[in-house]
């Protein structure tokens, strides 16, 4: 048992040292595996902003994750093909420069979030869950049946996208790129949570009427948070595409949305670092159980079930001692 601050710090230190363990154990795959954990954690942090703090249960975050991934894939595809991208009358060159790729992913996933959020926020509760799912499913089916970028077969990037002076194909370099993004996401979300927008978001999770009667427009607050959330998750998707050097419709599927959501809940909502632990736990368990039995999903289910039934609020609450109710204010 320790304080949340200390645990958070330990998590970051531990992650930082992962490549070292990897080298010591002479197993570079550990680093790759943790890149995945870090990326999913970023996606989860994005989702948690609106899910945990804003009470907006999006069952469609795969849309952003997938869009980020596809943007990355498509830019690289056109770069390798030397065929420009045509949107109406405009033509764009593809690129393999990560800085551009990231900017595009952020912009497009924000735009998508603006669109989806604008319509979805007319509804609340379970209807919100389902309308976000609906939008994601549309994209999913679209991506499957649209042949240009591989349809269900997906799209392979032959190499990871580049960043000047760095070798992104090196697992350790790539891991640290993800790690830096994780830190940025954490700092950014932490700022938001303590900001006027953040407090408005947390308040409108509980009581729109009160929020309006102090002069705040809860719709705007939610929409902006939704956009930020979508953008963060979109960026994670972009990293994911580069990690695998591959994108396919599976990352737009409802199972993907569910997975992001599950690792957020598993780690502990209302906690900034919850998704990191959630992702860690989920992926490591999957690896570990998958190694010992063919029926690993059965055991994974059982462990998750026990966790939900007997941990108050995710794995985080196992490890720290301060009360979980006190989380909404800092």
């Amino acid at each position: 048992m320790m304080s949340e601050k200390k645990l958070n710090f330990l998590i970051l230190i531990f992650l930082f040292l992962v490549p070292l363990f990897s080298i010591l154990l002479n197993d570079i795959y550990i680093t790759t595996l943790f890149s995945k954990i870090v990326i999913l954690a970023i996606a989860g942090i994005g989702l948690n902003l609106i899910l945990g703090y804003g009470g907006m249960v999006s069952f469609g975050h795969a849309a952003f994750f997938g869009l980020g991934g596809y943007i990355t894939g498509i830019l690289a595809f056109h770069f390798n093909n030397y065929e420009p991208i045509q949107i109406l009358v405009f033509e764009f060159e593809g690129t393999n420069q990560l800085l551009f790729v990231w900017i595009f992913s952020l912009i497009f996933s924000s735009l998508l979030a603006l669109f989806i959020g604008y319509f979805s926020l007319r509804t609340t509760g379970v209807y919100f869950i389902m309308i976000t799912l609906a939008f994601a499913q549309m994209l999913y089916y679209f991506s499957i049946s649209w042949p240009t970028y591989g349809g269900e077969d997906g799209l392979s990037l032959s190499l990871r996208n580049q960043i000047p002076f760095l070798n992104t194909m090196d697992p350790i370099t790539f891991f640290y790129i993800c790690y830096v993004w994780l830190i940025i996401a954490i700092i950014f979300v932490k700022f938001i949570l303590n900001s006027p927008l953040g407090i408005s978001l947390k308040a409108s999770k509980e009581n729109d009427d009160r929020v309006r009667s102090v002069g705040i427009n809860p719709k705007k607050v939610k929409l902006i948070s939704f956009i930020i959330s979508g953008a963060i998750t979109g960026l994670a998707g972009s990293l994911y595409a580069d990690l695998n050097r591959f994108v396919s419709p599976t990352i737009l599927s409802w199972q993907m949305s569910g997975e992001i959501m599950i690792l957020v809940i598993l780690g502990g909502m209302f906690r900034l670092y919850g998704p990191i632990l959630g992702a860690f736990f989920y992926i490591i368990l999957e690896q570990f159980l998958g190694g010992i039995t063919e029926n690993w999903q059965f055991w994974l289910g059982l462990i998750i079930l026990l966790e939900v039934l007997y941990a108050k609020a995710g794995i985080m609450s196992f490890l720290i001692k301060d009360k979980y109710d006190e989380k909404t204010s800092s």
Partner: protein, 307 residues
Amino acid sequence: MEFQLLIEQFLNGLQFGTMLFLMSAGLTLVFGVMGLINLAHGSFYMIGAFGAALFAEITGSFFIGLISSFIVAMFAGVITEILVIRKLYKKDHLDQVLATFALILIFSEGIRWLFGAYPLYLNIPAELNASVSLPLEIIYSKYRLLIIAIGILIAFFLYILTSKTLLGIRIKAGQNDRGMISVLGVNIKTLYTIVFALGAALAGLSGALIGAIQSVEVGMGEPVLILAFVVIIIGGIGSIKGAFVGALLVGVTDTLGRFLLPELFKLFFDNADANLIGSSIASMSIYILMAIVLIFKPSGLFGERSA
């Protein structure tokens, strides 16, 4: 395009709709009325189908299979409710999501463990494996007519159960304020077990009924789950009428979309492209329908606007 075919496709849509209703019937109870987000609903659908396949094989009788599907799924429902679900009512909706997701893993892998990875055999009995002629020279499968009949029957039964009986009112009250309804002297715990088990049993029955014309395999429940949620949301949570109308709407949209959209696009594109684009949009059609309904009626077609 002949008029005859259009009518038949419309009927097919209605038929698919009743089938969807049958799939979502149990979910309407558990999710719509009790307010429990139960992702594992599809698992009961699967359990029912496997139960039916097993007992139909042992006894050689499809009907015994059907009855077993109901009983087996109900039994699974009771156990699940007592061991797991009961502990979730008080918790956050999201804990329900997580726990029932875990149940999916457990049930799916459990079934695969027991029955292996290949689909099982469950087919309709010879006496139902025939077609009847309807007016307008439409030929229709007997078994599908049976499904329609059962769907309507269950719809009617659920409608009576939830809106005309005390039981229905009590479940809704329990969803609103569990503590209060029990302070007023209602044993909500047992009531919920019964209702959950009934929901599971209905899921199991429909799994068997539909499994007989589709396929009985691990994972058969998940697509159904999503479809069933779509149906209930379009109709409006808590409304059986809504679920029924929603199911028909989805059925017709999907069927006619698959049929008409490629034709429509042939007006603008050449054959192959029209086929592709048309069927792409057709596969999105029910989600487009759902989004449109929710944009204009944020709590579904027949949903109550309660905070």
